[in-house]
Symmetry: C2
Subunit: 349 residues, 2 copies
DNA sequence: CAGCAGTTTTGGAACGCTCCAATGAACTCG
DNA sequence: CGAGTTCATTGGAGCGTTCCAAAACTGCTG
């Protein structure tokens, strides 16, 4: 009568409910109850089953449970196809939070490299085991993203990380209030005595890109500061940003808020080119708190997204959606936080 | 007779093999064959089944398949619990490659936040649906890692990313030949005319850390260059690295090879502190090709790990292991590549 | 101590699929 | 033209679990 489960576990897979039942001298159904509805059992029997489970190293067979209960306890997560160069340091923390939170609710995360609804999949591949999953988390949802519509049509519960900027609003989403982040950045800079605060963003038109610009603008207006001629745009690339920020610096900006750390780095370069020192001569604030931000000198002040919280909220919303399919869509907008480093910490106007 | 699957797909989940069989006028088994062993069917019947599948929007129920075939077509991947500060830009690309390759073989990746075998899980939680997975990929395996032993004892196929540096060798692994990377770095620097090439590594003792040092050493010896007094060590932190590299610079090193980009960045700082310019006055080579490397100025030359290849190999080895359990352990050592940027591109000794 | 309500346990069926062995159809050949 | 051979299809069983309804045990009352 070995107390160690490991000796048996070697030939595992064959330990089933029935095995445990025989050992404990009860029916399979009772064992099932012991596991899923312990309040039904007489304490004495429950203990007996517990012991049998222990001794045999029994573990329920997920597939069988899934088949019977019609719930896989799996959440799909669609990874965005990342280009070799473009790193998304974002995903790491987010995914971790996602997995962790899901775990706590008894769910696991299943990775989908090409998320359902993405193009290029013919009818057969596309439909492959979608229903091995109870719900879906989409990330990097953007304009013209068809995944939401695709999932909704099929009645699969889902939550997006990223709001829908255009078109019909469908489904739940969690997002970070970028405007609030740049707004806070302006507040911070104003507090340091800055007046001529410029903004370097992405080309207009994308919702994601316009959002931070909005925050900058409204904060500037609130302080009755001028925004005209204080805004430039560039693609997310150092050289372009460096070029784009030039006119702003020429016009005498004492601070620049950028829509990404990459753009902010372009500012660094532009400043150095002019023999000016970031943080000392001109304040710079980035966006994203990428791993690089802390490594720069001076350290880059930047708006950090609460990725862990986003992950948690995604799971929370998804679980809610799964429990009541028909409920009205829910949206969660989370506040980012300003991480202050040397690139914007002391007044020097 | 709607040609569109979508109209029916709304009430999906109820479309089963039997449904398709009725529609196509064959037996359920034949439909199954059409899907899994098409060569058994007469072309005419196969077409008939195909059409029925199409019209009904049928998709096989993974759980049922799993239950019957005893193969979940799932590969577990243990995420390392990442501390909030510590970013692992590595994981992103690797995970993507993993998922992609698995996909192509008809497998999916299932995330495990706390990988089996990690401490802190009591007997019940720990065993939770391990056998919902056909095999396991472990990453960041290190000294004293008990996960391998744990999995082996339970007869679960697995592959580690990272070799086992100590103890009994168990299981397959894929790793990057760090020594070869630093060796190549030395070659490159020697080619540029450098002679006093120093090495900045992590504290001795960890296999992972000693590996790059080894490559540096052997390459130096090959060129009859001195290694004495040319080696320093530091924890993976800018300030420490900056301090640690001091003596090497004082001793007149014209080039420094670092065991990580973080350490290399410490060199940058130390050099600037002495009013020297990285890449111009002293060459610096890092390790990892982190996203930051390309963003620095000068761009950091660094040893890049072939993460995509590692991901692919992991899956390949795992599939091989799963197909023949008893085969002797297989190990794959991949060559990293030197990415040359401005921090080490022109001789200036 | 039969009767009844309440609690605890149980047998049987079903989830959707694939394995296995057996049937039927078509085809070859002595 | 019946026997052997191959090829295509089929029925039945079973994977391990939970649902459902019925059965067996309590304990309490009249």
């Amino acid at each position: 009568m070995p107390r160690s489960p490991n000796t048996r576990a070697a030939k595992a897979g064959s330990v089933t409910l029935a095995t445990v039942a025989r050992r404990a001298g009860v029916s399979p159904q009772t064992v099932s109850n012991a596991l899923n509805a312990r309040e039904l059992l007489r304490p004495e029997n429950l203990e007996r089953v517990r012991r049998a489970v222990d001794e045999l190293g029994y573990r329920p067979h997920r597939a069988a449970q899934t088949l019977r209960t019609r719930s896989s306890k799996l959440i799909g997560y669609g990874i965005r196809p990342t280009a070799p160069g473009t790193s998304t340091p974002v995903m790491d923390r987010f995914l971790h939070a996602l997995s962790q939170t899901a775990d706590e609710a008894g769910y696991r995360i299943l990775l989908f490299t090409s998320p359902p609804g993405s193009a290029g999949l013919d009818g057969y591949e596309e439909l492959l085991d979608l229903h091995s999953v109870d719900g879906f988390v989409l990330s990097g949802t953007d304009r013209g993203d068809q995944r939401q519509a695709w999932l909704e049509k099929r009645g699969v519960p889902f939550v997006g990380f990223g709001r829908m900027w255009s078109g019909r609003q469908i489904g739940d989403w969690v997002d970070v209030d970028g405007a609030s982040g740049t707004d806070a950045a302006v507040e911070h800079l104003v507090g340091l005595g800055h007046r001529r605060i410029a903004f370097l963003g992405w080309p207009r038109g994308s919702g994601v890109g316009d959002d931070p610009a909005m925050g900058w603008q409204r904060a500037m207006r609130r302080h009755s500061l001028p925004v005209r001629g204080k805004r430039a745009q560039s693609v997310d690339d150092i050289a372009s940003a460096q070029a784009a920020v030039g006119p702003l610096l020429d016009a005498g900006a004492t601070a620049v808020i950028a829509a990404s750390d990459m753009l902010a780095l372009g500012c660094y370069h532009a400043l150095r080119e002019r023999r000016a020192v970031p943080g000392t001569d001109v304040a710079v604030v980035g966006f994203d708190d990428s791993p690089t931000a802390v490594l720069l000198s001076p350290g880059l002040s930047t708006v950090a997204q609460p990725l862990e919280a986003v992950g948690r909220e995604c799971v929370r919303l998804l679980l809610a959606r799964m429990s009541e399919i028909g409920a009205p869509p829910e949206h969660v907008l989370l506040e980012p936080s300003l991480v202050v480093r040397d690139s914007a910490s002391a007044s020097d106007d």
